[in-house]
């Protein structure tokens, strides 16, 4: 019994024997699934490898802040850098204009510099967790070495070079004036038809990014059931295609029961929240508060081909912009309690009741 405990199984999977995907940007996952990078190294790590190929990722927007755009931009850039075709739909009049705001992968020396400061900062902040930290650091190093092509670091201040998105590979759709989701559905269907899934061979994969589906400025927002059947049919098309789709939607605009229906549709469900400026209580509670721009909540992790849920240690992460360039996600670190100030857990805990009850889990 003890022997079986230490060794999980005598049948160890020989990864190299399994048809290794030839495409850069696709990684083998458990249970015959494949991962695609989200464009944010930290998010890939949190989700256990990335977004599942053939999966539907949904992001619930914060009505007051555009943090979902950060995730969307990195996701799109990652695909374009890896030469993957992209379908982008948005309620804007000219969706193509958005491509000019995509971030560019950072160059090598940038990255090492960034890496260095990360290490330095780690020693400064988390000295009491040094032993965990060094281990973590090593993991990151491994990650960076082996998956150089899987996921890039993106520099949010540098725009993506034009040649990445000027070709035929990018398809843009404006959903502003479409009377029903049929047009968008047809565009998605023709786009996905390029990437049929036949097991083992990957010739190409695609990405679909749909921004603010159901936003009030487009007429679609009034057609609850049409939207649901669109999402359902998109999901079933994705299952049989080598593609991944991401949909962001303003959850507060949907009725509660439809919002739940949307959430059930997602394979991966995330939500973003802004941090109110100058929330002093929260600032006292969390280390690194001044660098945070928002919170990311992980509600659901894909469970394709398996029934076992993946349980995370924490579901809330802070979104930080490191040096105003790199998007990083970090676990919330609680600041050491200052004995002299006399604030106890009870009083400082009140902050979670202020604007985002239950958003913080320690």
């Amino acid at each position: 019994m003890a022997a079986t405990k230490t060794r999980i199984s005598s049948f160890s999977r020989n990864i190299s024997a399994v048809s290794a995907p030839q495409l850069p940007g696709i990684k083998c996952g458990p249970n015959g699934t494949f991962f695609v990078s989200s464009g944010i190294p930290d998010l890939d790590k949190i989700l256990g490898g990335g977004f599942p190929l053939g999966g539907l990722v949904m992001i619930m927007e914060d009505a007051e802040a555009p943090h979902h755009m950060l995730l969307l931009r990195n996701f799109m850039s990652q695909g374009l850098v890896q030469n993957q075709p992209l379908l982008y739909a948005s309620p804007a009049k000219d969706p193509r204009g958005f491509l000019g705001t995509l971030p560019c992968p950072s160059s090598k020396d940038d990255k090492s510099r960034n890496h260095y400061t990360e290490q330095e900062k780690g020693l400064r902040i988390a000295w009491q967790y040094k032993k965990y930290f060094s281990e973590n650091q090593r993991n990151i190093d491994d990650h960076k070495d082996s998956n150089q092509e899987f996921c890039n670091d993106f520099d949010l201040r540098k725009p993506l070079e034009k040649h990445f998105y000027s070709g035929q590979r990018v398809d843009c759709v404006s959903i502003k004036d479409s009377p029903n989701p049929a047009t968008l559905h047809d565009r998605c269907a023709t786009f996905l038809a390029q990437f049929p899934r036949n097991d083992g061979s990957f010739s190409c994969m695609g990405r679909i990014a749909i921004q603010s589906l159901c936003a009030p400025q487009c007429e679609l927002s009034k057609m609850d059931w049409d939207m649901l059947s669109f999402i359902r049919s998109l999901k079933s098309m994705l299952r049989s295609a080598n593609a991944v789709a991401i949909i962001t939607f303003p959850s507060s605009l949907l009725s509660p029961s439809f919002c739940k229906r949307w959430q059930h549709m997602a394979d991966v469900l995330l939500s973003v929240k802004a941090i109110p400026d100058e929330d002093k209580e929260l600032g006292k509670l969390l280390t690194g508060y001044q660098d945070m721009v928002g919170f990311l909540n992980v509600h659901k992790i894909a469970r394709i081909n398996t029934q076992v849920p993946m349980i995370l240690e924490a579901t809330t992460f802070s979104i930080k912009l490191q040096k105003r360039r790199f998007l990083v996600l970090e676990c919330l670190n609680q600041a050491p309690i200052d004995g002299s100030s006399g604030t106890s857990y009870g009083t400082s805990g009140g902050c979670s009741g202020s604007s985002r009850s239950g958003a913080l889990d320690f």
Binding site: R232, R239, S257, K260, H264, K300, N305, T306, P309
Partner: protein, 261 residues
């Protein structure tokens, strides 16, 4: 294989008394879950139990609205049940409903065409079964809320379909196992659909997250309400059981709260 220790879920469903008729025969089982805790695993467990039970007459008709066959096949294979082989044996019928949309929605007869055809397909499948198996069919639906989406929101058609399937349970002794998401309906003022469904149900299984939040070794809790539960002595009453669970690849662990070391 069959003599292994029965778990709490089997016990709560009355599967522990290996009586000759399948204990769930003629019953309607509803599995309810929510975004935080998926109840799919209960469906997988019941699918496995039904197909591998001692009575070789059991047949399953599976209406899949949410996943393709490969997904279930992989999961069930780890549980020790080969769906493809069972399908070849004529004991497992998989209806891929991922793309089902009601064809004649424009004529105001939303959903009718699609679901009527589906019902006939089910009935024909059951009628075509060998005589011994006819009374041992199980219809599984994964999941009901997607059926509503396929019907474009006209839950009446889904309810009609349900009632038709329900007649099969009383006429032929089939059982009906449905997965649905409870949290969709909790915010509604009068969740007619939900209430009507629950009215038909004999066994209600509810999967919920722990009130205390996420934990690595307890994935959630199950509440099983078994109406008309017959124990060995023959007296019948409602029975409620409540326990925690942890889902694994090849099994699910069930235990009473606080009994895990």
């Amino acid at each position: 294989m069959e003599n292994r220790a029965l778990n709490l879920l089997d016990e709560a469903l009355g599967l522990d008394y290996q009586t000759d008729p399948w204990p769930l025969r003629g019953k309607v089982v509803l599995i309810e879950d929510c975004v935080e805790t998926s109840g799919c695993f209960v469906l997988h467990q019941l699918l496995k139990r039904t197909l591998s039970s001692q009575s070789p007459n059991n047949t399953v008709i599976f209406l899949a609205f949410s996943h393709p066959l490969s997904h279930y096949d992989r999961i069930l294979r780890k549980l020790g049940c080969n769906l493809v082989a069972q399908r070849e044996n004529g004991r497992f019928f998989f209806f891929d409903m991922l793309k089902l949309l009601c064809p004649d929605e424009k004529e105001g007869k939303t959903g009718k065409g699609g679901f009527t055809a589906l019902y006939w397909k089910i009935q024909n499948t059951i009628c075509a079964l060998p005589e011994n198996n006819k009374n041992h069919a199980t219809i599984m639906i994964d999941d009901m809320s997607l059926m509503e989406v396929a019907a474009h929101g006209s839950s009446d058609h889904v309810l009609d379909f349900m009632h038709y399937c329900h007649t099969l349970t009383s006429e032929l002794g089939c059982s009906l196992i449905i997965l649905n998401h409870e949290d969709i309906y909790t915010s509604m003022e009068r969740p007619t659909f939900m209430l009507q469904t629950k009215y038909l149900v004999d066994v209600l299984i509810k999967a919920e997250p722990l009130a205390t939040g996420l934990a690595a070794d307890v994935h959630g809790q199950l509440t099983v309400l078994n109406r008309d539960f017959c124990n060995v002595k023959g007296s019948s009453k409602n029975k409620i059981s409540n326990f925690h669970f942890k889902v694994k690849e090849n099994s699910v662990e069930y235990f009473y709260p606080g009994t895990r070391t």
